[in-house]
Point group: C2
C-alpha cells in the first residue's frame, strides 16, 4: 500500500530557519533541551511514560536525502552552504530519559537532549510528537485498567484513531498501560501483541437469520467463538447464542463468549448471564464494547454489571477527554550557561536536571525531587537514565511485556488518592532541590537585569 | 528514518475472521456498505468531507505479501485455503462517494462500496480511519477559518498531533477547510502546500540578548523576518522588534511581522500595534499563536484584538472539543436484499443510496434528500459520484487548491444559522425520500418477523 517514503522532513519549518541562522553565526556549542508537561491538568495527577523507543530510533536514523535537499532548495529559503551541512547531518548527542512505563508528574523533565545546538533543536518536533501522544494514551489506558480492575481490557480503537500511525501507537501504548491485546492485526505482527476479535454486525446481517450466522462462525472458529448478540435485540440474541453454546457442548466444544455492544449494560449483562447459566454455560464469558472509557467502565461496574472483559475503543484511542498533553521541549542550557523563557504561564526550569524518586519502607511512592543533573540525593532513585551517547543507543530496548510489568509494579505502589478518575484530589509531592532553585533564581535575575533593565 | 514497511494488515482482526467464514461458506455475492456519521453532535451542524483520495489509493493498492501471510499463518487462526485466497486478494468493487471539500450532514451516506462481500468487509477499518479523522479535522479547521475570517490561518499543530500520519493529514485537511499553509515541511513537500515559520523561544534564549537574536535572524532571512516577542516580556520584545524594523527600513528592507505567543492577546496586540506604528512600521503584520481554536479566535476578535494572522496548533490538530466523529460503515445490502441493524441508538439506512442537494434560486443551500441510488429527484444535484469502477479509480484526483475552492464556495452558500460555533441552533434539513422510507420499513418488518417472532 502506498506510503510516504521517508519522514525526515516531518519537522516544523522554524527548526530549519533557526538552524540556518545558527549555522551562519557558527553557534555550534552544546545545548541541552528538556521535555516536560506544562501546568497541571484537572483530571490527570500522574502520567505514564511511552514513546522513548521511537525517539531513540528517530535520533539514530535521521538524515536528509537528495530529494529532501532538492525540496528545501526549491523553497528558496536556504543557502547552499547550509544545505551541504544538512546533507551530512547526523545526530551526535546524548540523551537522558525516563524509561517507558515509568510514572511521571507535571513539570518533571522526562527526557533531556544534549547536543550541538542545531542538532538538539532540529529534533524538537518529532520528540514532542512521539512522547506527548504515546504518554497521553498510556495514561488514558492505565485509567481504564484501574477502573475495570481485575477485568481484562483490549484495544478496539483502530477505526477511529487519528490516522494510521496513531492506530499503531495506541495498540502499543495501551499495552504499556495494562491492556491485554488489540484488534489491530498489524500491531500484533509488529509489536508481538495478542490480537483479538471475532465478528461485526455486518456478519449477522449478511446471513438470512442471526442463528445461522452464529452457527457458521462456531463451525469455522470453534476455539474462539465470541458471538455478538445485539444486532436485532440483545435478549433474543443471547438466547440464540445459548442455543449455539449447547450445540457446541454436545460436540465437546465450548462457547467462549458473547459480546454486548449497545443498550443498558448493567441490566443486559445480568439478564444475559442468567440466560447463559440456564443453558449450563457457566464458563462462557461476557464481553462488552460500545463507547467505553474509564468513566463508563466505572459506571457500569458500580451499577452491578456482570461483565468479564471490555473492548475499549475510540474514547481511549484518542484520549477523548484530554486529547493532548501540554508537553514542551525547551532550551535550558546553552554553551554552559543555564537559560529559560519567562512568558506568562510558561516558565521553564533552567539547566540540565535529574529526578530523584523516594519510596517508603513499604515500597509506596512518597515524593520526587527535581535537582540539577550532577546532584546527589541520598535515598532517592535516579529516574533519568543515559539512553544515548554520541548518537548511539547505549542499551537494548526492553520488550513490551517488560515495560508493562514496570508500569503495573510502580502503579500498584502509587497511593489510590492519586488515581481519582474524576478530579485531581491531591497533587503528588514534587519538590525542587535547593540547588536547582538557586540556579533558577540566579538565571531569572540575570535576564531581568540584561533584558528588562531591572537591577 | 525507520518506518513500518507496509500497512496492509492495518485491519481489525474481526474483518479477517468474518472473511474466513464467508470464504468457507462461499458467500461471494455483492454487498453494499455505507459510510455515515451516526447521531447528532451538540456542536457540529455540518461536516467537511476529506480523506477520499487516501481511500481510493488504499483500495487500489491493498494486497497481502508473503510476510503478512506468514504472520497470519502463525496466529493459527486461518486455514491454508483462506490464506491462498488472501494471497490473490485484489479489490474489484465500485465506489460512489461525496467529493472532498463538499459539506455533509449527520446520517448522510458519504461513501458506498459495492463489492463481493469479503472485499467490501475487509476494507472497513481503513475507510473509517481515513475519512472519520480527516473530515473531523477539515470541519474543525473550517470553524476556525469562519471565526477568524478574513484573517489568514496557518497550521502549527505538528508537534502535538496524534502521531506522524495525523501530522500529515492535519496539514492536508486543514488546507481543505480553508487554512493557507502549514509549519509541516514534509506536508509542504508531499502536498505542495505553502510552508510557514521562523523562530521559537529557544532561538531567543540561545543568544545573549533578545535583540541580538532578532538582528541575526533579520540578517539571514531579510525577506521573511517574523520576530517572536514574548520570550521575556511582550512589550519590551516589541520595542526590540521595532528597533530591528527601523534598522531594516534603513537598508530598504522591511520587517514582515512580529508574533505574540502568550498573555492577553487583545490588550497586547493593541499595544504592540502602537509600538510598531510609532516606529513607522505600518506594514508589519501581527501574528498570534498559543492555544488558538475557533473559540479563542472568536473571543480575542470580539475583545478587539488587532491581529492579522493566526497560527492555529494543537486544539485544531486533534479537534480537541470533538476528537472523533461517530462514523460507521454498515452493511446495507447483500445479495440484492436490503439489510440493516437495529441496535438501540445505532439504526442504519438500508439499501444503496444517493443524496440530492437542493439550492435556492440565489444559490443558497436549502435541503438534502437521501434516496435510493436509482431514484431521480427533480432539481437536486446528485452528490455521490462514481469514483471507482471494478477496482480502478475513474477520475483524476483534483488538486488541493481545487478542493479548497469547492469547500469555500459551498461554505459561502450555507446559511450562517448552521455555522454557530457554540451550539447547534438549527439542524440543516435532511429528508428521506418516500421510496427509501418504504424500503426501510419493509426491511424492519422482515427482521421483526423472522428474528423476533413478531407478525
Amino acid at each position: 500500500m502506498h506510503r510516504i517514503k521517508n519522514l525526515d522532513l516531518l519537522i516544523d519549518l522554524y527548526e530549519l530557519t533557526m538552524a540556518a541562522v545558527y549555522f551562519e553565526k557558527e553557534m555550534f556549542d552544546p545545548a541541552t533541551f528538556s521535555l516536560f508537561v506544562r501546568g497541571n491538568s484537572p483530571s490527570r495527577s500522574y502520567f505514564v511514560n511511552a514513546g522513548l523507543e521511537d525517539v531513540l530510533n528517530y535520533l539514530k536514523e535521521l538524515k536528509f536525502d537528495q530529494e529532501d535537499l532538492d525540496y528545501l532548495e526549491r523553497t528558496g529559503l536556504f543557502k547552499k552552504s547550509f544545505l551541504s551541512y544538512l546533507e551530512k547531518f547526523q545526530f551526535s548527542g546524548d540523551v537522558y530519559a525516563l524509561p517507558e512505563g515509568r510514572l511521571f508528574f507535571s513539570h518533571e523533565p522526562i527526557l533531556e537532549v544534549t547536543a550541538p545546538l542545531i542538532e538538539a533543536q532540529i529534533v524538537e518536533t518529532f520528540i514532542i510528537n512521539a512522547i506527548n501522544f504515546q504518554s497521553s494514551i498510556a495514561t488514558k489506558a492505565s485509567r481504564c485498567v484501574y477502573a475495570g480492575w481485575p477485568r481484562k481490557l483490549v484495544d478496539f480503537s483502530l477505526r477511529r484513531t487519528q490516522g494510521t500511525d496513531a492506530g499503531m501507537k495506541v495498540a502499543r501504548s495501551s499495552f504499556i498501560g495494562g491492556f491485554k491485546g488489540t484488534s489491530n492485526v498489524l500491531a500484533g505482527k509488529v509489536y508481538d501483541l495478542p490480537i483479538v476479535g471475532t465478528m461485526a454486525h455486518s456478519f449477522i446481517t449478511s446471513f438470512e437469520k442471526e442463528i445461522e450466522a452464529f452457527r457458521a462462525f462456531a463451525e469455522i472458529f470453534p476455539q474462539n467463538t465470541v458471538l455478538l448478540v445485539d444486532t436485532y435485540d440483545t435478549i433474543s440474541g443471547a438466547k440464540n447464542a445459548a442455543k449455539i453454546g449447547k450445540e457446541m457442548a454436545e460436540q465437546e466444544r465450548s462457547l467462549r463468549g458473547v459480546r454486548l455492544d449497545s443498550g443498558n449494560m448493567a441490566q443486559l449483562s445480568k439478564k444475559v448471564r442468567r440466560i447463559l447459566q440456564q443453558a449450563g454455560l457457566n464458563d462462557t464469558l461476557i464481553f462488552a464494547s460500545g463507547g467505553f472509557d474509564e468513566y463508563k467502565i466505572q459506571k457500569v461496574i458500580s451499577e452491578g454489571a456482570d461483565i468479564d472483559s471490555f473492548g475499549v475503543g475510540t474514547k481511549m484511542g484518542v484520549s477523548a477527554d484530554i486529547p493532548y498533553l501540554d508537553m514542551a521541549y525547551k532550551l535550558v542550557k546553552y554553551a554552559g550557561k543555564p537559560v529559560l523563557k519567562m512568558s506568562p504561564g510558561k516558565k521553564t526550569l533552567a539547566s540540565d536536571k535529574q529526578i530523584f524518586r523516594f519510596v517508603s519502607s513499604e515500597g509506596k511512592l512518597e515524593k520526587d525531587i527535581i535537582s540539577l543533573r550532577e546532584e546527589k540525593q541520598k535515598g532517592g532513585e535516579k529516574l533519568l537514565k543515559k539512553r544515548m551517547e554520541k548518537g548511539s543507543p547505549v542499551k537494548e530496548f526492553p520488550s513490551l511485556s517488560q515495560i508493562q510489568k514496570v508500569f503495573l509494579d510502580e502503579f500498584s505502589r502509587l497511593d489510590s488518592k492519586y488515581k481519582s478518575l474524576e478530579k485531581v484530589e491531591e497533587e503528588y509531592p514534587v519538590y525542587l532541590s535547593p540547588e536547582l532553585k538557586k540556579v533558577q533564581s540566579r538565571t531569572m535575575h540575570r535576564i531581568r537585569v540584561k533584558e528588562l533593565g531591572e537591577s
